[in-house]
Subunit: 188 residues, 2 copies
DNA sequence: GATTTGATTCTATATCTATCGAAACGAATC
DNA sequence: GATTCGTTTCGATAGATATAGAATCAAATC
């Protein structure tokens, strides 16, 4: 799970009054589900739901003890997230911005990529397709290479399922070429 | 606004993917509403709504600049909240509980401790066992710690010969936790 | 003053989620 | 094995909220 989603589930898990109180209670000692239900004036099923959210964010964990499930706070996870809020550096990584990309390219990318950065449609115009190609090359092939076809396909999976079109595009548009034996690819 | 609600609005304000990205973007530089709308692919009115939430939590603030409203991140507010997550002490204040020996506890202690204050039997009920644990913690571990396992065993000898059960109970019930190296114990 | 531009407010809607009750489940007890 | 007890899962519902669009507002430009 990328950094962004990790932080998001973290915040979502704490964005509820009852769950905040649960964390507060668990900061004192471990509780069972029914104990929490009693204190919070909720049904056990509701508390269970809250605990599953907190546990999904890694904030609490249960140790099964015969009949009971003892829920305890994981203070380390809390600290880890808190620390990432203290550095603006980490915050910046939440929203990487493409410096150096010129306005036209940015516009094209915004049009053809969705929020996850996946290809929404194939640009018909050659010029726009090349913007996509350069973006892909810069994003997933920043190392020196060479790469096998399998390797290339694997990396491009993040962009689109139609990896072949992109791979062929790299060749056709002169951004990559094959080595002598034709088995491996390298940047031109 | 009490501590609890402050933290709640803080978490609610960040419990949204778009708002997290806004914070990430503002960590780079200040943005206007329409700039953000463009980048996030949202209407200006929606962005305005998000910014009002963030501003309600004190995370961003706008400086009016002629035509534009320049929104900037308030890193101090972020740090302040992050810091409160780092101390379990502050977390406990989220859910104050009434310490003090209540009648029920006294009854349990009378049942399971003999005249010398030694454990007559192991309570089967979890709740009663915890009464014993809290009593032991309060009686023999009033100092700050940390303690080695040997030290803990020594002190608990006054309570019972089966020191291991109690020591394990401290951990399982969230009253103590181990330090990083796992060699020493400290109150949670 | 009229117009334009950027931002906010208001209203409506579609999605999400907190909550409950019922059912299912697993472990301990009878 | 049947039962009980604590927990989780499922289905339904009511309340919250993210979003868009229209209307409003404020400042700058004409």
């Amino acid at each position: 799970m990328p950094d962004h989603d990790l932080l998001l589930t973290f915040f979502k898990s704490l964005a509820d009054a009852k769950r905040l109180r649960i964390v507060g209670l668990l900061a004192h000692r471990a509780y069972t589900v029914e104990e929490l239900a009693e204190v919070l004036d909720l049904r056990a099923s509701t508390v269970s739901h809250h605990l599953s959210k907190l546990s999904g964010a890694g904030l609490v964990s249960a140790t099964v003890q015969g009949h009971y499930h003892l829920y305890a706070l994981d203070t380390d996870a809390l600290e880890a997230h808190a620390r990432s809020l203290l550095s603006t550096g980490e915050l910046r990584e939440l929203a990487p911005i493409d410096e150096g990309v010129d306005p036209y390219d940015r516009k094209v990318l915004a049009t053809f990529l969705d929020e996850e950065g996946r290809l929404k449609a194939h640009p018909m115009k050659r010029k726009k397709f090349e913007v996509i190609l350069r973006h892909a090359l810069h994003t997933w092939f920043d190392d020196a290479g060479p790469w096998t076809e399998i390797e290339i396909n694997g990396r491009l999976k993040a962009l689109t399922d139609d990896v072949a079109s992109i791979r062929r595009g790299f060749i056709d548009h002169g951004l990559m070429c094959r080595d002598k034996r034709g088995t491996e690819y390298v940047k031109s």
